[in-house]
């Protein structure tokens, strides 16, 4: 591996999907002098531990406009990268088990129409066609995204990494940032131990580490680290086509191309802590949700169970844009739907950094919205 340079046009702290996508989009716009630094190993963070599901529509217009754009960008991504990211539009279903949730799905459909994102309510017979193995007595209604689907993180990360390296982006893993240097009211350099990397632009996008890394620059960032657990079962022939969200159960799942059922649940009430150790109750909760909704999976064995960590903001929405307190510092954080949102985030941030123009669809997610009191109200996310 080559050694760290002493300067770069852009230094990106965090080599997950946000960091690599941004580096790639910057390179597409001609800005290739980028260094990406990551404290862990490639795919070691949330970008290698997530549910890999992609949808364009949410309950709020802000989310729907942004993620709708991101879904459009997912479609052409393989071609842009020259690598198959294995994005597949197998569909994405949000299932309602209560009247209240069913009502929310109606509201969401209206929002989607307003924002130009395709979605539809499914009749009972259509639910039976799309999810033949589900327990239909539990499902009161469904909202379906024909264009939603799955983007397997290993393929996406592999494609992004190859495409970045091919365009001259320098990637350094197992390379923690130890400090920052500010001068004249701007972010001037990133420190990695003894090495000082001078940068025109610095971007913090390191997931659950965001607040800690920002603190190294003496800056506060809204949000906190949040644990998520997921598991994978032994492989089966196709049982479940689309990605599935069960909002009332705080549960999401899909079946991978190699047959494993992968998903997770959240169990409210956990004490926040930073740890990748697994727990029994969260595994048990997800297993119960899965078996209740898909009874034919009862005897399937659990191959492995793991934990990932996210940066969750106080309104659960991502934050993207310049940091309000320090020039030349940008942030892309607060990602709970980071796989779904990465193509739009990379594209719009790259445009903003290179041209200074902030896309209207990204603007509501500004980093300073918390202090302005301009929180985003979004009622459909699975994560609590």
């Amino acid at each position: 591996m080559s050694s760290l340079p002493s300067r770069a046009t852009t230094v990106i702290v965090g080599g997950g999907i946000q960091g690599l996508m941004l580096a790639f989009c910057l390179a597409e716009r001609g800005s290739t002098d980028t260094v990406v630094l990551d404290a862990g190993y490639w795919q070691g963070g949330a970008s290698g531990r997530n549910g890999t599901m992609v949808r364009g529509g949410f309950a709020s217009q802000e989310w729907t406009r942004f993620f709708g754009r991101s879904l459009e960008l997912w479609v052409g991504l393989s071609k842009r990268l020259g690598e198959n990211v294995m994005f597949t539009r197998r569909g994405y279903a949000i299932l309602a088990e209560s009247e209240a949730m069913d009502g929310l799905l109606d509201t969401m459909t209206a929002t989607h129409r307003l924002c130009g994102v395709q979605s539809r309510r499914l009749a009972a017979s259509q639910i039976a066609d799309i999810l033949p193995h589900a327990d239909h007595t539990r499902i009161r209604g469904a909202l379906y995204f024909d264009q939603g689907g799955i983007a397997p993180h290993h393929a996406v990360m592999k494609g992004l990494r190859k495409a970045c390296i091919a365009r001259g982006v320098r990637l350094f893993y197992d390379t923690p940032v130890t400090g920052f240097e500010k001068s004249n009211g701007r972010m001037a350099a990133v420190l990695c131990g003894e090495t000082r990397i001078e940068a025109d632009v610095t971007v913090i996008c390191c997931g659950a580490q965001n607040t800690r890394v920002a603190a190294l620059a003496g800056l506060e960032l809204n949000g906190e680290a949040h644990r998520i657990e997921a598991l994978a079962t032994e492989p089966m022939r196709p049982v479940i086509g689309p990605g599935i969200a069960l909002p009332e159960r705080f549960t999401y799942l899909h079946q991978t191309a190699r047959g494993e059922i992968v998903g997770g649940s959240e169990v409210p009430g956990e004490t926040p802590r930073e740890s990748l150790a697994n727990t029994v109750p969260i595994m048990a909760a997800f297993a119960r949700h899965l078996v209740e909704m898909f009874p034919c999976l009862a005897d399937l064995r659990i191959l492995r169970h793991w934990t990932g960590m996210l940066h969750v903001t106080s309104d659960h929405a991502p934050m993207m844009g310049p940091h309000p307190d320090l020039a030349d510092l940008w942030v892309s954080g607060g990602w709970m739907y980071g796989i779904a949102g990465a193509p739009a985030a990379g594209d719009m941030l790259a445009q903003a950094i290179v041209t200074g123009v902030i896309d209207a669809r990204m603007a509501p997610f500004a980093v300073d919205r918390f202090r302005r009191g301009a929180l985003i109200v979004e009622g459909s996310t699975v994560n609590v």
């Binding site: 191309a257 990748l276 119960r288």
Partner: protein, 488 residues
């Protein structure tokens, strides 16, 4: 394969891919099939190579049983009328067209499960391809009518829990019970100490005060040792959480398969599997058995011969160059060619470190094992140093590092040569260790290959995270664990 002199009487028949198979009292389906010389129980993930009873590669032991997917045939009692079916075959086990995949050049099927070089890139052509790939990769068919009530899990408390029913486990359990402490002992065997008995050892009786969980996998250790997850092999039974004040891991050592070409063929098995066949089931592991080992080969050969098995060769494992065969073992090359239909390996011996790792595992960027918590300790052979896997000056590029996922040494060496030396990254690029064994023995092979190719010490390479529950627990059993352990 012949039944040995001490065979029990015939007890009934079951169906394997429609064919009637007789079984004897106490047989597992794996033993009964072996006795009928049916040795291919499964097909590998990508190359569709034959896989069988090995004791090392779990995917080779898995079949559908009465509609349930991926049931371990070596851990189940054969029952009258049971329907066993091969998975990952099309259209059927008796006439498997997918088996021709092994004729494809191995380079075409690299890169884990996505078979990258074969895959059209770009969305439009990818989606139909993905449908085909999902069918190919998914292995087990789904039976819509296959429902099961969630077995309510149970929580057991005891002063001490011992994992392993061998000599060290018994000694520790008996010592604790003699002090008046409550003791639970968890064993994978159908009885505690089955493996030692197969070797011919006479073990001391267990103290009356010891509660024994037989046919259970201790498949996860959580909360720094406070909760041991034990899954019964029978999917209808509930899982148990043992909350103990002290955890003693007496999990012994097992023989690592040789890292040579052909070691994945049906007919290659570890000492424990061969002895279990010969001793417990009175089935010869082969008609002509070759034994290789790391010092224990003579003892093992003598034991097998005493049980009535024909041993045609007994060699140190480092002389083994390759194992020859197409659908099963037909011979070995070890100095010269020796015709045999079974290879039994007795070493290199290595401990299963998963529970010890999980007891101390934590981290925020990477899960690393820490020092054992004070309440967890190792006992017996599990404490002994691991013997190195692999032998010889050069690596055999044709060998499979991870036979369940069809990861070749060749593929790993090419990635290492391209600069990928992090075991977590190599796992993600190839799928090595992501099958039902969850890293044992493949990550030992992975560390050896990285060490060999980079000139580093194997002990400094490490391994990817051992993640519970490692195919030990069904979803229904896991669902039954709700409310047994408080949320942390």
């Amino acid at each position: 394969m012949k039944r040995l002199a001490h065979a029990t009487q015939r007890a009934g028949t079951f169906l394997f891919d429609g064919r009637t198979v007789p079984f004897h009292l106490g047989d597992t389906p794996a033993a009964a099939l072996h006795a009928q010389a049916i040795r291919t129980l499964a097909r590998s993930r990508k190359f569709h190579r034959p896989r069988g009873l090995s004791g090392s590669f779990v995917a080779g032991h898995l079949c559908g049983v009465d509609g349930s997917p991926h049931v371990r045939l070596d851990r189940l009692a054969a029952a009258q009328g049971m329907r066993v079916t091969t998975e990952n075959v099309w259209p059927c086990g008796a006439f498997d067209l997918l088996g021709s995949a092994r004729l494809l050049p191995r380079r075409w099927l690299r890169a884990g499960f996505e078979h990258s070089p074969l895959m059209p890139s770009g969305t439009a052509r990818f989606e139909p391809w993905e449908r085909f790939m999902r069918f190919m990769a998914g292995e087990a068919p789904v039976h819509a009518g296959n429902r099961r009530a969630i077995p309510q899990g149970r929580r057991m408390t005891s002063d001490v829990v011992v994992v392993g029913g061998g000599p060290a486990g018994r000694e520790a359990a008996n010592a604790a019970a003699a002090q008046g402490r409550s003791v639970a002992l968890v064993t994978r065997g159908h009885v505690a100490g089955a493996k030692a008995a197969a070797w011919g050892a006479v073990l001391p009786a267990l103290h009356d005060g010891v509660t024994v969980l037989t046919a259970h996998d201790a498949c996860g250790l959580y909360d720094r040792g406070r909760h041991l997850l034990c899954a019964p092999h029978d999917a209808a039974s509930s899982a148990t959480i043992v909350a103990a004040g002290e955890v003693i891991l007496a999990t012994g050592r097992r023989s690592a398969p040789p890292l040579v070409a052909g070691a994945d063929l049906p007919g290659v098995m570890d000492a424990e599997t061969a002895l279990t066949l010969a001793h417990r089931h009175a089935v010869a592991p082969g008609e002509r058995v070759a034994v290789v080992g790391n010092g224990m080969e003579d003892t093992l050969a003598a034991r097998l011969e005493r049980l009535g098995v024909t041993v045609v060769a007994c060699q140190p494992v480092e002389r083994l160059e390759r194992i020859v065969g197409w659908s099963a073992v037909s011979g070995i090359d070890a100095g010269g060619h020796i015709a045999c239909d079974c290879v039994v390996h007795a070493g290199p011996w290595r401990s299963d470190r998963r529970l010890a790792f999980m007891a101390g595992a934590d981290g925020d960027l990477r899960v690393l094992g820490g020092p054992l918590p004070a309440m967890v300790r190792l006992a017996g052979a599990a404490q002994e140093a691991d013997e190195p896997v692999g032998h010889g000056a050069a690596l055999d590029r044709r060998a499979l590092a991870c036979p369940c996922m069809d990861v070749t040494v060749d593929e790993l060496l090419d990635l290492i040569a391209a600069g990928e030396t992090h075991v977590e990254v190599l796992k993600r690029l190839t799928g090595c260790g992501m099958g039902p064994c969850q890293g044992i023995p493949c990550w030992d092979n992975l560390a050896h290959i990285v060490a060999h190719a980079t000139g580093r010490e194997p002990s400094g390479i490490g391994h990817p995270t051992y993640r519970p529950p490692g195919a030990g627990l069904t979803l229904a059993q896991a669902a039954g664990l709700q409310d047994l352990v408080p949320l942390s």
